[in-house]
């Protein structure tokens, strides 16, 4: 009889986790249900919308298209890990400044893919941004402000400027 559960070690946002999962568990369900990290959203569950985008070992993936067991030994970054040392990530600040979201459902996925874009190239052209956001769908914004948000975040990263402290800006 094959084992019905498998042990995995995954580092998520810098924190190590040891878990036992069924092989059929999707990475997105592991993050949301087992680790309680519900910032990663499920939009379509068919690989189309990108709401579930997280970064595994430096590469953005759709976590509804990856098994949790495949992340054994990997470093995973989710939207919860973006803010660091009491400050927003430049991408979070960019989305806030440029109104890169409306309902916000798609936003965690867009932000993680935006992080990937800027880590690949901190000064992408509009077309490069649009091409690299192809796997993310937004029903609200019309994309223009998302592209602006990525550009603003790129500018912040290139300038080395400090980002907003957590709690400032948002309804404060």
């Amino acid at each position: 009889m094959e084992e019905t559960h498998v042990g995995i070690s995954v580092e998520v946002n810098g924190r190590p986790h040891r878990s036992t999962v069924e092989p059929r568990t999707l990475l997105v369900d592991y993050l949301r249900d087992d680790l309680g990290l519900t910032g990663t959203h499920i939009g379509c569950d068919t690989g189309q919308c990108g709401a579930c985008t997280v970064i595994v070992d430096g590469q953005s993936v759709k976590s509804c298209m990856v098994l949790a067991v495949q992340a054994d030994g990997a470093h995973v970054r989710t939207v919860e890990g973006l803010a660091q040392d009491g400050r927003y990530h430049a991408v979070q600040q960019g989305f806030w400044e440029k109104h890169g979201l409306q309902c916000g459902f798609c936003t965690p996925g867009f932000m993680m893919q935006s992080v990937q874009i800027l880590e690949d190239n901190p000064d992408p052209s509009d077309q490069e941004i649009r091409d690299a956001l192809e796997g993310n769908l937004c029903r609200c914004t019309g994309y223009q402000n998302i592209v602006e948000a990525v550009k603003a975040a790129g500018a912040t990263i290139r300038s080395g400027a400090e980002t907003m402290a957590l709690g400032t800006g948002v309804g404060a």
């Binding site: 094959e2 498998v6 092989p23 059929r24 068919t46 759709k62 298209m65 098994l67």
Partner: protein, 282 residues
């Protein structure tokens, strides 16, 4: 949507993967998972076990050997897209890679997985046919090499047996000009029709030319009538029109909610003409 339960083993060498395939009935290879996981979720397939080959480092990488590009089956679409070696040695592959899915899918999906899957709307099968790739398949009794023209046997099927593994793909790498053009399904991004073309020409005269088409029929195919109409002739817009007009001769095209057969046949001719025009500047 959740897959039905299955057992899982990550293999760390080709030998281990083959041994696992041999000793487990109803086991399936898992590479990038970008076609298999959707199928598992829809329960279109319910294997008893998945053998993960994505951690086998020998299956990954791109190198040049005796004028050929040797691409490991586990090399991702994204690695091919970003490879300067591929850009130099095979403009066709370089032009195709960024047209697959999106960045996230390309980060995981693999060259070998796409060929082994043989999706009628998949992009790589057209390129493999156009460059006459050699596919190396490992099994219990060693390896065998199969030409792309003999590799695809039908919709979603190839000559790979249940106890075998596609390990590497050899592609001519002398920089032959080539291009891939794709008419994307607006919702899925897959090819309604995709056309891979390579051609050499000398002083305005076409040398060798290859044209392969995916998306239109259950299996990707070479448009030989159109190729013959071009070989050895002087490049002109009229010649390309004439050749492209034969690209769909005798085809039995797929028909579905996205595109009826007649539309696909028309697209084959249009896309072949566009690809030839782009490549040969006419």
């Amino acid at each position: 949507m959740h897959p039905a339960p299955f057992a899982y083993k990550a293999a760390h060498s080709v030998e281990e993967a083959l041994e696992l395939l041999r000793s487990h009935e109803d086991a399936k290879i898992l590479a990038g998972g970008q076609s298999l996981i959707p199928a598992l979720k829809l329960r279109l397939t319910q294997p008893a076990m998945l053998i993960d080959i994505s951690k086998i480092s020998s299956l990954r990488g791109i190198r040049r050997e005796n004028g050929k590009l040797i691409i490991g089956s586990g090399t991702t679409h994204r690695e091919i897209e970003k490879s300067s070696l591929v850009a130099e040695a095979s403009p066709l592959l370089a032009s195709l890679a960024p047209q697959i899915g999106d960045v996230q899918v390309r980060h995981r999906g693999t060259f070998g997985g796409s060929l082994a899957h043989a999706d009628p709307a998949g992009d790589w099968p057209a390129a493999a046919l156009a460059v006459d790739a050699e596919l190396v398949i490992a099994g219990a009794h060693g390896t065998r090499t199969v030409h792309a023209s003999d590799f695809f046997t039908g919709m979603l099927s190839t000559v790979i047996n249940a106890d075998e593994l596609l390990t590497e793909i050899r592609v001519p790498g002398e920089g032959t000009p080539g291009i891939y053009l794709k008419h994307r399904n607006a919702a899925s991004g897959y090819a309604t029709v995709g056309v891979a073309v390579t051609a050499t020409h000398n002083h305005g005269r076409i040398g060798t030319v290859s044209i392969a088409v995916t998306g239109a029929t259950p299996v990707a195919f070479r448009a030989s009538a159109a190729e013959h109409a071009l070989t050895g002739h002087a490049v002109s817009a009229h010649l390309l029109d004439e050749a492209a007009s034969h690209a769909a001769d005798g085809l039995e095209c797929l028909s579905d909610i996205h595109a009826p057969a007649a539309y696909r046949a028309q697209l084959v001719k249009v896309m072949v003409r566009r690809a030839l025009g782009k490549l040969l500047h006419a």
